[in-house]
């Protein structure tokens, strides 16, 4: 028979999903408001993991899953009350189940005693506290045969049974059994309603035939007259004489009648070959306690009163059923396939290369004499269109709802709340927002840290909250949404807000800020992103793991993202994370500065304009501003920032590209020329070179040259740093510029 181990991978993948389902359900399990659908879903998840695990012989895992499942079954049947302790135990059990799966996947046995503690905890929750001693791990591959043949003390069978025995004995005399064989006589008299359970005697007779040479004799003695015949009832019975090899034992024959044993009279007798044979018969006596001649006969009398169970199908069948059609499903079970991620990554890469090639061809075509290659140009236009669609389709394959990350957070919140003794309610929204898988994966760590941070530093304890007139439980709101081609994730808490005096004094104490410096509220808030900064008086278990918000920010910027913080004392804080939808391709505008080419993400660009001299205002120091659309915008000279010679320095002769960051602040980038829009494949600068300020990543242009992809928010930071080295003008309009709109929390 074929090996089923090829399904292990599917099993582990499926189990991973089921674990998440179970965890999500467990985290929603609240004492007093038990949702039976939810509980059923958890039960089924554990049950499926157990079922599959059994198929691959993961006995330890199955044994543990069984304990887990037993308690869930109790919850389902309302025999195990849902308490906070129970939920904790179940969550631990779910974790452990994941560990057991990991061991199984590696093919390692779990260390002795791995499950002991949790099993004990689970059993304590079972009603009556009686330990469940059954060992499900040893779930037999086949069910133990029901000993329906054993009740031969029922002597009413005597008449029939004796006759049978006589026949068998007589045959044994006149027709000896060949050596090494056994002859079985099987009398099979089903109850008339056997067919109603979907059982078919013909198939059972066929199954007997597969066991050896069978002669089937049909008895029609119970056949009613045509007038009284009920076609759906069964009136026939059979005697089968089976000459089988010695390895065919009573169990195998019983197996044939496994499902109908309770609905039939069955007698099985066996003749062994004469013991006189010089070569001893095979040791068949072990499974054959009934085999000794004269035949032992097990018998049940004529159809006895039906058991209630046997009646049930009819009663059920007779009951009219509304909605009986059920044809609403077309009959297809699944429209999805599982694909190895490597294959998709390869596809994404290939599409990326194709985008580059297409850009390259477009570049060459531009040099052709205009008007001569109309068809070629049209074809290229189409190619560009198709490439774009292909890119979008491929990227959508990897798109995942952020719920896969969000769903982990309730757990985290629970743990943090327990550690800090605070009451926390987590509200999530926008879980269905889709982002590229690479982005989703990279969200876990920053989100984890920020939520910890919000609970640990942001939220007050329940008593303090009551004192200031807030509900005891603090709320952390986690949301996701698409905004201008990026995903924006916000973590908002209704806690005490950033303690600005404390942050400032801490920063001065750590030498991060000069004593006496005047900083805006926003600048103070942003100090928490500085390396080495921590407001925690003591290194707590929660936030003080050597990971500060600086690391969070570094992680985010390395993904081409940005992070901002907005806080209102006493009302709470809001962290805003903005990330690209994908880390693979972006729509960019290629610009030139001197001999250099840069790419600006299209999503940042507002417009490009050539300023008149009257629009420009020089400010003390290096900062120039420009009046654009009624607003002062700081000018950033890219050639200065990156030290590029030969660029156009005079803004009235150059171009100013007006760019905007997610928080709405604007900059005017002074560049030589705007070369055109293009899709570019993002190549990580960190992975291939090193991190550069103001640069998000790199790409390869159509002519094969490497161009840097600019990070607008990073440029803003850089230009600020340049300002801060110069004395700040007291009434600089710039100071008021980038202040983000602070929405009420």
């Amino acid at each position: 028979m074929e090996d089923l181990s090829r399904f292990k991978q599917t099993y582990f993948d499926e189990s991973a999903e089921l674990l998440e389902v179970a965890e999500a359900g467990l985290l929603r399990l609240t004492p007093g408001e038990v949702d039976s659908d939810e509980v059923n879903a958890i039960f089924r998840a554990v049950h499926s993991i157990k079922g599959g695990g059994g198929a691959f012989g993961f006995t330890e895992l199955v044994a543990f899953a069984h304990e887990f499942e037993t308690v869930m079954d109790g919850v389902r049947n309302n025999t195990v009350p849902v308490t906070t302790e129970l939920v904790d135990t179940l969550i631990r059990a779910n974790d452990l189940l994941g560990q057991m799966l990991a061991y199984a996947r590696e093919g390692d046995p779990a260390p002795a005693g791995t499950t002991d503690g949790t099993v004990a905890a689970l059993r304590r929750h079972l009603s009556g506290g009686a330990p469940q001693a059954q060992a499900p791990a040893a779930a037999p591959a086949a069910p133990a045969p029901v000993p329906v043949y054993a009740d031969d003390e029922d002597d009413e069978a005597g008449l029939f049974g004796d006759a049978m025995a006589a026949i068998a004995a007589a045959r044994a005399e006149e027709d000896p059994v060949p050596p090494g064989k056994l002859r079985w006589t099987i009398v099979f008299r089903p109850r008339p309603d056997l067919l109603m359970s979907g059982n078919e005697p013909a198939f059972m007779l066929r199954a007997l035939r597969r066991l050896g040479d069978a002669t089937v004799e049909c008895h029609t003695d119970a056949l009613p007259t045509l007038q009284t015949l009920e076609a759906e009832l069964l009136h026939l019975s059979w005697t089968v004489t089976l000459l089988a090899d010695a390895d065919v034992d009573l169990d195998k024959i019983n197996d044939v009648f496994e499902f109908v044993a309770d609905d039939c009279d069955i007698r099985i007798t066996a003749d062994a070959p004469p013991p006189a044979a010089p070569e001893a018969p095979p040791p068949v006596t072990d499974p054959l306690p009934v085999a000794a001649p004269p035949a032992v006969v097990a018998a049940v009398p004529e159809p006895p009163p039906k058991t209630p169970g046997a009646d049930a199908p009819k009663a059920e069948a007779a009951r009219p059923r509304p909605n009986g059609g059920g044809a609403e499903h077309a009959g297809l079970t699944s429209h999805t396939i599982r694909v190895d991620l490597d294959k998709i990554d390869r596809l994404v890469n290939m599409v990326g290369e194709m985008v580059i090639t297409q850009a390259m061809i477009a570049e060459h075509v531009r040099e052709l004499p205009p008007g001569e290659f109309q068809e070629l140009l049209e074809g290229l236009e189409q190619l560009a269109q198709h490439t774009r669609e292909l890119r979008e389709s491929v990227m959508s394959i990897r798109a995942q709802p952020v719920s896969s990350v969000f769903s982990r957070m309730p757990r985290l919140v629970r743990e943090c709340a327990a550690t800090t003794g605070k009451e926390v309610q987590l509200v999530t929204s926008g879980e269905t927002t889709e982002v590229d898988k690479t982005v989703v994966e990279n969200l876990v760590d920053p989100l984890t840290h920020m939520i910890r941070n919000s609970i640990d530093h942001g939220l007050e304890g329940p008593e303090e909250r009551e004192r200031v007139g807030k509900p005891r439980a603090g709320t952390v709101h986690l949301s996701a949404q698409h905004r201008s081609g990026r995903i924006v994730i916000e973590i908002t808490d209704d806690g005490r807000g950033i303690n600005r005096p404390k942050v400032l004094s801490k920063a001065i104490e750590k030498g991060l800020v000069q004593p006496g410096a005047t900083l805006s509220d926003e600048e103070i808030d942003n100090l928490i992103f500085l390396p080495g900064f921590s407001t925690a008086d003591q290194v707590s278990n929660l936030s003080g793991r050597g990971v500060g918000m600086d690391v969070v920010r570094r992680n985010i910027t390395s993904l081409g993202g940005r992070i901002g913080v907005y806080s209102t004392p006493g009302e709470g804080s809001r962290f805003v994370l903005s990330l690209p939808l994908t880390l693979a391709v972006l729509d960019g505008m290629v610009i030139s500065v001197g001999e250099e080419r840069f790419v600006l993400p299209l999503t940042n660009i507002v417009e490009s304009l050539r300023p008149k001299a009257a629009d420009l205002h020089g400010l003390v120091g290096k900062c120039d501003v420009m009046m654009a659309r009624g607003e002062y915008v700081r000018l950033v000279y890219l050639h200065q920032l990156f030290g590029i010679p030969g660029a156009v320095a005079d803004p009235t002769r150059a171009l100013v590209v007006l760019v905007e960051t997610e928080d709405g602040s604007r900059l005017g980038l002074v560049v030589d020329e705007v070369l055109g829009q293009q899709q570019v494949v993002i190549k990580s600068l960190e992975a291939n070179f090193r991190r550069l300020d103001g640069v998000a990543a790199a790409t390869i242009l159509g002519d094969g040259r490497v161009a840097l992809i600019l990070d607008v928010a990073g440029l803003r930071e850089m230009s600020r740093h340049m300002d801060s080295r110069a004395p700040r003008p007291p009434s600089s309009p710039v100071a008021a510029l980038p202040a983000p709109a602070l929405e009420p929390v």
Partner: protein, 125 residues
């Protein structure tokens, strides 16, 4: 005397792994297999296919195995359709529950392929 026309088996289980394994095993033994992930889907599949046997899990979302059997048995066309339960335990209570609603028989998980085929042969040839 094996049947010349391929018999069609419907396997109903919310676990993809289990469906895959049952499917694979039965196809290897010469059966046609169609799949459904719950009882409701199974009714749809049966509406669109002539199946010779149903193998159904008990615990499933949307519609569980017992309800599926009841629904099928309530339809005259499926009164004698063989329906096997695929249960995790050789638990007598579960079996008699299944029997009460009209199940033909049961297969114990984890099944071994040979056993599965022999059971299938027993109820649908």
């Amino acid at each position: 005397m094996e049947p010349s026309v391929k018999k069609k088996v419907l396997t109903v289980d919310d676990s993809r792994t289990m469906r895959d394994m049952v499917s694979f095993t039965l196809k290897g033994a010469g059966y046609d297999v169609v799949e459904a992930a719950d009882g409701q889907q199974a009714l749809g599949v049966i509406g669109a296919n002539k199946v010779d046997l149903v193998i159904t899990d008990l615990n499933m979302p949307v519609m569980d195995g017992l309800t599926l059997i009841r629904r099928l048995r309530a339809t005259p066309a499926h009164r004698t359709l063989p329906i096997l339960m695929l249960t995790t335990e050789a638990d007598e209570k579960k079996k008699s529950e299944g029997r009460a609603v009209g199940a033909t028989g049961w297969i114990v998980k984890p099944f071994n392929p040979e056993k599965l085929i022999s059971v299938v042969q027993k109820v649908c040839g």
